[in-house]
Amino acid sequence: MTDRSTCETVVRQLWQYLDGDVPPDKRALVQSHLEICVGCASHFEFAREFLNAVASAPVDGPADDELRDRVLVALAGEGFKAH
């Protein structure tokens, strides 16, 4: 089925499907539709690539030298020597 309502039903599951958060019966429907509908498959692929890019984005954390020093002092109290 590649009618418009199936496309919409499937695309509505996009995030939950990619997160592994849809029940098995719905999952099967999405899976089989994606095999035959290039348009919907491309939406899923785009979202998947987005998630991969987010997961591998560099860490731009809030840590600073002060926190690092504090952690090192606490570790030194446990006998740790930095190398």
């Binding site: 496309c7 995030w15 997160d19 785009f46 979202a47 890019a53 860490v59 690092r68 504090r70 570790l75």
Partner: protein, 218 residues
């Protein structure tokens, strides 16, 4: 009573060597993850001071249990787990938010955004372009409630359940915030890619004017 081992005794020397090795490994593998742990801690505690305490506690626990760390495993994940466990043990907080289930609407919005990207020749923007720094910047610019959920789930790989428990919010709220955060990120990154001139389409379309494919109506 334990009789102290003299420092030049072979057992004492062996222990000192193994300790020095452990410290070297800890310095090489765990300490470089300080920023990553700090970010998880800030996302969990939503408070700078509590976050710093949590980072310190995480590294102390990690150091004490360093001998249990499998060095072929991902140290960042290991530290994230310690951080989360430490947080859960320390925390006494009640849920405060109401869940809003809008996963499906956000999914439709994601498809529409994809159509806009395609119309601007940016179909492969996330696989083709190096958006790493722009993604980090966009994550940091999110409202803290949204940022924390996307950092914990999409970057640090926590499950919905783990985040719901850690932040004391219903799982529906976790989903809702996650999807909205993803949408905000996608919109910010698409705008960035267009502004940066990565677009290859001859004619730009306004955000809601999707191409004339079947999916355009989604």
């Amino acid at each position: 009573m334990t009789i102290p081992v003299p420092p030049d005794h072979p057992d004492a020397m062996k222990a000192a060597t193994s300790r020095a090795n452990a410290d070297r490994e800890f310095s090489a593998l765990a300490l470089p993850q300080l920023n990553a742990v700090a970010r998880v801690a800030r996302a969990l505690t939503m408070d700078e001071f509590d976050a710093d305490d949590l980072v310190q506690e995480t590294f102390l626990r990690a150091y004490k249990h360093w001998h249990t760390f499998d060095q072929s495993a991902d140290c960042r994940r290991w530290l994230s787990t310690i951080c989360r466990n430490a947080f859960l043990e320390q925390r006494k907080r009640d849920g405060r938010y109401t869940a809003v289930e809008d996963a499906e609407l956000e999914s439709l919005a994601a498809a529409r955004l994809h159509n806009t990207a395609k119309a601007n020749g940016l179909d492969g923007m996330f696989s083709r372009l190096d958006l790493g720094p722009a993604i980090s910047k966009a994550i940091n610019a999110l409202d803290p409630n949204f940022r924390d959920v996307v950092v914990l789930i999409d970057v640090e790989d926590f499950s919905y359940e783990q985040v719901a428990e850690a932040l004391s919010i219903p799982i529906g709220t976790v989903r809702s915030r996650l999807y909205r955060a993803r949408r905000a990120l996608q919109e910010a990154l698409l705008a960035y890619a267009i502004d940066a001139g990565f677009t290859t389409a001859e004619k730009k379309s306004p955000p809601d004017a999707a191409p004339s494919s079947r999916q355009a109506s989604l």
